[in-house]
């Protein structure tokens, strides 16, 4: 009995302690990491965490939006074009980029809401491709494959202000998405995903909720994209094509679609680990492919499910020992 009480209290403190520890470590990280390159990797990870988490938010409602990288691109290009060709302030264009992505997401959400599952995934895939081609066709304004250069930066040359900016942005976005998922809206979305018929019979307006979540998800994707544009200073539509969406989907799946921490873990693992293998040069894709295959075969529910796998394996070991003993 006493053991159970202690362990329960321990478990209650464990989660906030872990989160608090992570926050403290991340805030103090630039003091320990002198290498600008690793700061760059971390900043990219933070940006893609926002994108992946917003993808998962949309996926909660059962919509597998395979155009997500294209929305990131819409946000990025809007912000870049406005700040570069029209000279608007960067702090204005980033929210505008996010808004543009949200508006377009809401606009196409309505016609696409009639489709479900595989069909939704396919139509969003082609929408993403189409959007990129249109961006491509805009010629000098967007730079096409050559890239849009000369984008005004957020801060100066040092990466540290960028790091703190994106750390704050990511924390804020994750907080908002967390609250969304665990409030009424989130529960409604999960209900729609499970069975739209039953949800509809209880009075849930399926279309409205789906458009809502799509718009919110695209807002965050556009925000991340705009931030990325003002950080990277060079944009090319190759960063937002179908392959990019596939990678975002993979970050989410490898991390685990069933838990909130999934996309965070997935993005962090799949971006940072291949960077260690960078010295392998031409053989880096093999490391990434091996990582993917191992997770899929061994931990099918994603890396966020790793504690579960270990715990269940441990319990089974214990049970076997007990049965052997008896």
């Amino acid at each position: 009995m006493i053991e159970k009480q202690i362990s329960r209290r321990g478990r209650k403190l464990a989660k906030p302690a872990v989160y608090g520890g992570i926050v403290i470590i991340l805030t103090l990280l630039p003091l320990f990491i002198k290498s600008s390159y690793w700061l760059h990797v971390l900043i990219l990870t933070l940006i893609y965490i926002i994108v992946t988490a917003s993808f998962r938010l949309i996926a909660i409602s059962g919509q597998f939006s395979l155009a997500h990288a294209a929305f990131m691109g819409i946000g990025a290009y809007t912000s870049a074009v406005l700040s570069r060709w029209f000279g608007w302030s960067v702090w204005l264009t980033i929210p505008l980029g996010a808004l543009a992505a949200m508006v377009i997401g809401a606009l196409i959400g309505y016609p696409f809401a009639r489709l479900r599952a595989v069909y939704y995934a396919l139509v969003s895939l082609f929408f993403g491709i189409g959007v990129l081609q249109i961006i491509n066709a805009l010629g000098i304004w967007t730079g096409s494959y050559q890239g849009l250069t000369g984008i005004p930066p957020l801060f100066g040359a040092s990466k540290i202000p960028y790091y703190y900016f994106f750390l704050g942005l990511t924390s804020l976005c994750l907080l908002v998405m967390y609250r969304l998922e665990f409030c009424r809206i989130g529960t409604t979305l999960k209900a729609i995903a499970q069975s739209y018929l039953v949800a509809g019979s209880v009075g849930v307006n399926e279309v409205r909720y789906r458009i809502l979540v799509l718009a919110i998800g695209c807002f965050f994707a556009g925000l991340a994209g705009a931030g990325y544009a003002q950080y990277n200073l060079v944009l090319s539509n190759l960063s937002f094509n179908f392959m990019a969406t596939l990678w975002i989907v993979m970050y989410a799946i490898i991390g685990g679609l069933n838990s909130f921490a999934g996309p965070i873990i997935g993005a962090a693992v799949l971006i940072i680990i291949p960077e260690f293998a960078r010295d392998l040069k031409m053989y880096t894709p093999y490391v990434a492919a091996a990582l993917l295959l191992i997770v899929v075969y061994v931990i099918p529910q994603g890396l966020a499910g790793l504690p579960e796998v270990i715990r269940s394996w441990y319990i089974r070991r214990k049970a076997k020992k007990v049965s052997h003993a008896s």
Partner: protein, 406 residues
């Protein structure tokens, strides 16, 4: 059941460890013996993965061959200290942000201040990082888009003619060998550089008496089937067809599509695609009336260094193949400047290079220019060879042509 999973996990980890260990072992085995000579590391931005990799890896090997030749001849001597050249390659992943990441790694992480730039249209991504950290970056190619080589890139140098210089050389070739061609129809890859190149190149052709009919026909970068493009080309009434820029994977299929439509006009390109590749892809029946800038072995007027490079590469691959030598130019010219200025400091090298009038390249003597075209006098124009397939499909050398980009 969970034992199998555990075994798979262990097996997978072992597999990854083996895969990671092998390249390290081979890398360790290839270490050059360091005696009194030190290593001069040059950062090299190359796409080792992704769609641009097949081309980029080839150029990297060309550049590596040049470094081997230089090292065999004693390397570079600065201030009495002998240095052997070493290219530190960093993967650009065939994308602009890959270039930014790789450049960040080389300049900020590894502290290399001499960067051999990316080729083709990736150059504009390397500029911000290099300029901010005062690293000298030498480009292999330029499409005259903003940010590649202009007033915002004081530390950037163009070692190769780039799109404009190559076009000028082919124009000279036409004037000399084919004076009957008075009008051309242009096509080029649609990657965003056409608006910057079209006015300059059109003007040059027209100043030399060759009319450019209509606007340039763009084809997509991932274009696989060139028959619609060939149909559009056929509909234009001009004396010759000019494919301004493209990779071998575009030039050869476009040529084949054009010939298959029965179009027998002269087809020339100022990008690189060896006649051998044209014959392989288009077939011997259709391969005729073609010219490109491409050096061939044993041609009259080949500088000895170029001859040596071509011979080594041909022996390595066993067949003739397309050779660009763009980044090879970059390394060779950088070495010249280093030895002349006797310094490894990027700012000193930049100031020295700016003041030069001529500089040696593997293609011959190059001249500094570019103030009018790019806004900064950092572009080297050098002679270009032209390789020709005549009407019977025989390969022959078209001659060397001087070029100066103002």
């Amino acid at each position: 059941m969970e034992r199998r999973r555990l075994l798979t996990l262990i097996g997978g980890i072992c597999l990854i460890l083996i895969m990671v260990a092998l390249p390290f072992m081979t890398a360790c085995a290839e270490e050059k013996p360091t005696g009194e000579a030190e290593t001069l590391q040059l950062g090299y931005l190359v796409s080792l993965t992704g769609w641009f990799a097949p081309l980029d890896i080839l150029q990297f090997e060309e550049c590596d061959t040049l470094c081997q030749i230089i090292n065999e001849q004693g390397g570079v001597t600065v201030g009495g200290q002998q240095y052997y050249l070493e290219l530190v390659a960093e993967d650009c992943k065939s994308s602009l942000e890959g270039v930014t990441a790789a450049c960040n790694r080389l300049v900020l992480d590894k502290g290399l201040k001499l960067i051999i730039g990316p080729v083709a249209f990736f150059s504009s991504a390397a500029a911000p990082v290099c300029e901010a950290n005062q690293a000298l970056h030498v480009l292999g190619y330029s499409c005259r888009t903003p940010g590649e080589l202009d007033t915002t890139t004081p530390y950037g140098f163009l070692s190769h003619n780039g799109a404009i210089g190559n076009a000028m050389a082919l124009c000279e070739y036409l004037k000399e060998e084919h004076p009957e061609i008075k009008s051309i129809v242009c096509t080029s890859i649609d990657d965003g550089a056409i608006p910057y190149l079209e006015p300059v190149i059109n003007e040059y052709f027209e100043d030399n008496g060759i009319d450019v009919v209509g606007s340039w026909i763009p084809f997509a970068t991932d274009c696989v089937d060139f028959s619609p493009i060939a149909a559009r080309i056929k509909a234009v009434d001009a004396d010759a067809i000019y494919l301004e820029r493209g990779s071998v994977e575009h030039i050869a299929p476009c040529f084949k599509a054009v010939r298959e439509l029965g179009d027998k006009r002269f087809f020339f390109t100022s990008s690189t695609c060896a006649c051998q590749d044209i014959i392989t892809i288009a077939g011997e029946d259709l391969a005729y009336n073609y010219a490109a800038n491409q050096p061939i072995s044993g041609a009259p007027g080949n500088p000895p260094l170029l001859e040596e490079l071509i011979t080594r590469l041909t022996n390595k691959y066993g067949t003739t193949r397309s050779m660009w030598f763009q980044t090879t130019n970059a390394v060779y010219e950088l070495v010249q400047v280093i030895q002349a200025a006797q310094s490894l400091d990027p700012t000193v090298l930049k100031d020295y290079w700016e003041k030069l009038e001529t500089i040696e390249t593997p293609f011959g003597t190059g001249r500094l220019g570019g103030l009018e075209t790019y806004g900064i006098r950092h572009a080297v124009s050098h002679p270009l060879p032209v390789n020709v397939l005549d009407e019977n499909g025989d390969i022959h050398f078209g001659g060397w042509y001087e070029v100066y980009v103002p």
